[in-house]
């Protein structure tokens, strides 16, 4: 799982505002992509539709060939168990320890406590927070809180990882660390889609970038880079000649 296709996806709110307009994109399983654009460009709506927290007004979203736009309400939880989500404001439970926060997705699927412990510690180890498992989120720095959020998103080994402005509150160095973490998860086959307005940061990652503006896809850098690669090959060929 992890292959995503969006066909003619439009989202219009009851106010009449169109957050997404005829969006056609696809993401290969195991790929990594950045969504960028100004505030209000439609990045969050894009991710919300993928998470099925909202439904498109028109169009289809296919995940591994299955249309998830008309998914029954009773099936939604099982779909969401395959998706990890990270947010700018972490959504951590203030009264629960780091361990318990990360354990939430595993307890939802009814995993044995012994296995929960093992998986949570593995996830915390990946984000270098193993020694802080007993602390409350309030006792962590913003960057650490974000890493707890990431650990929670990946602890269930999701096929898709979505992140909405995960570095929004972080300094450049921490932001690069966080992005490196996403890259690591992508390297093990997770499809990763990160919404970020930090152009400088994402440009340096060398990954596909989709730019949204006014709800439309205005630029898809993977295609451009492919074109550029072709052109450079031609140039190299002519040089050799």
């Amino acid at each position: 799982m992890g292959h995503i296709e969006m066909h003619g996806v439009t989202k219009r709110f009851s106010s009449g505002q169109e957050a997404l307009k005829e969006v056609d994109v696809s993401f290969e399983a195991g790929s990594m992509c950045f969504l960028t654009g100004h505030s209000g460009a439609g990045k969050s709506t894009f991710l919300k539709l993928l998470l099925r927290l909202d439904t498109p007004t028109r169009g289809q979203i296919l995940v591994n060939g299955k249309n998830v736009t008309n998914l029954k309400k009773s099936r939604l939880p099982f779909y969401r168990r395959n998706i990890g989500a990270v947010f700018q404001d972490h959504h951590l439970l203030a009264g629960r320890s780091v361990f318990d926060n990360v354990a939430v997705p595993l307890r939802v699927i009814g995993m044995r406590e012994r296995d929960v412990g093992r998986r949570v510690r593995a996830a915390l180890s990946r984000v270098s927070l193993l020694e802080k498992e007993r602390l409350l989120p309030a006792h962590l720095s913003t960057g650490e809180q974000q890493r707890v959020g990431i650990a929670r998103a990946v602890v269930n080994r999701p096929k898709i990882l979505l992140a909405d402005e995960p570095t929004g509150n972080l300094d450049p160095e921490l932001s690069r660390d966080i992005m490196a973490l996403f890259e690591q998860f992508n390297q093990v086959g997770t499809t990763v889609i990160v919404a970020s307005h930090d152009r400088e940061l994402i440009e340096g990652m060398g990954k596909r970038i989709i730019e949204l503006s006014g709800g439309r896809v205005v630029r898809d850098r993977l295609l451009e880079s492919e074109v550029l690669l072709d052109e450079s090959a031609d140039l190299m060929g002519s040089d050799v000649a």
Binding site: L53, N64, P77, Y79, R80, H91, V108, I109, G110
Partner: protein
């Protein structure tokens, strides 16, 4: 597409064991949540307890009044007075006829001679009676009905006696039975109405308490929704809250009732004794306790269901 690739295939991991494990964890969390807010929980238990105690108390009262109606010493009966000079054979014939009725437990015959003797024995007017040429007292009989006899039974027997030869008057002694029966009906209906009203009250109390518990755990519910909790999983802890609040309220109601019984037992025994009855309060038995606990828990769960459905339906995850 293989099962591994199916985006909806992870549901199997929940399974029956996972479901049981989830219940166990939720019960522990619910107990922890309630014990951590003991003062609030005590108030909820007290409110639910008071709401349940009143209809339950009236139900017990009605049950015991019905028993009183059947056990009263002054059980309903008939007194039949014959015309003066009616032959004793007619008295015996009617007594025989009444004894044959299944509702009649006992028939006491009093001939005019026996009535005169009793008059002599119990009054100081025997000299006055001696001045009369003949015995002015009529023969009579008294029929006592079996326990469980109803007012219509009494009326039917009175009609039989009234048609018998030589009968001057039939006095139906149904006053107590009717009163008790009327009081029982009033109490029964009142307890029915109050049970509905206070049941709704208990339901609303638990619904409000559960609603507050939901608000306190809103962030957690949002996170759980994001990571794939089903609606049932989201609702589950609150249904346990409702059950614990309801069952706890029922326990409080039972305590209130037993305290009330302790307080009123002595004066009630005295009152019953004045009517020749022995008070044996019935109905407050293990079956009643079980029904109360189940009713409390059921009302609590219903209240929680109302609150959870209403609040979780409007839940905005992001």
């Amino acid at each position: 597409m293989s099962r591994k690739d199916d985006p909806f295939a992870q549901e199997g991991r929940s399974g029956l064991v996972g479901w049981g494990r989830d219940h166990g964890r939720v019960v522990r969390e619910a107990m922890h949540h309630i014990s951590a807010r003991l003062a609030t929980s005590l108030i909820v238990w007290l409110l639910v307890g008071i709401a349940l105690a009143l209809p339950a108390g009236l139900y017990l009262l009605q049950l015991n009044l019905a028993d009183v109606g059947s056990d009263w010493d002054g059980r309903p009966g008939l007194s039949v007075y014959f015309k003066v000079d009616t032959p004793e054979a007619e008295l015996r014939a009617l007594a025989q006829q009444l004894r044959a009725e299944p509702q009649v437990q006992e028939v006491e015959e009093t001939s005019s001679t026996q009535a005169l003797a009793a008059f002599h024995a119990h009054t100081g007017l025997s000299d006055a009676l001696e001045l009369l040429e003949e015995n002015p007292l009529p023969a009579s009989l008294r029929a006592m009905l079996v326990s469980g006899a109803t007012v219509p039974d009494l009326e039917r027997l009175a009609a039989i006696a009234g048609k018998a030869s030589g009968v001057q008057e039939v006095v139906v002694e149904k006053t107590w039975l009717e009163r008790v029966s009327d009081i029982t009906t009033v109490v029964s209906r009142l307890s029915g109405v109050l049970a509905v009203l206070f049941g709704v009250g208990a339901l609303l109390v638990t619904a409000t308490s559960v609603r507050l518990a939901i608000e306190a755990r809103l962030e957690e519910l949002k996170v759980q929704t994001l990571v794939g909790a089903t609606e049932r999983q989201l609702r589950r802890p609150f249904l346990y809250f409702g059950a614990i609040y309801g069952a706890g309220g029922a326990l409080v109601a039972l305590m209130l009732l037993s305290m009330t019984l302790l307080v009123v037992e002595t004066p009630l025994s005295r009152l019953a004794g004045s009517y020749g009855a022995t008070l044996e309060f019935t109905g407050f038995d293990p079956a009643f306790l079980l029904v109360m606990l189940c009713t409390g828990a059921g009302l609590g769960v219903a209240g929680a269901l109302v609150a959870a459905r209403q609040r979780l339906h409007d839940l905005e995850v992001l």
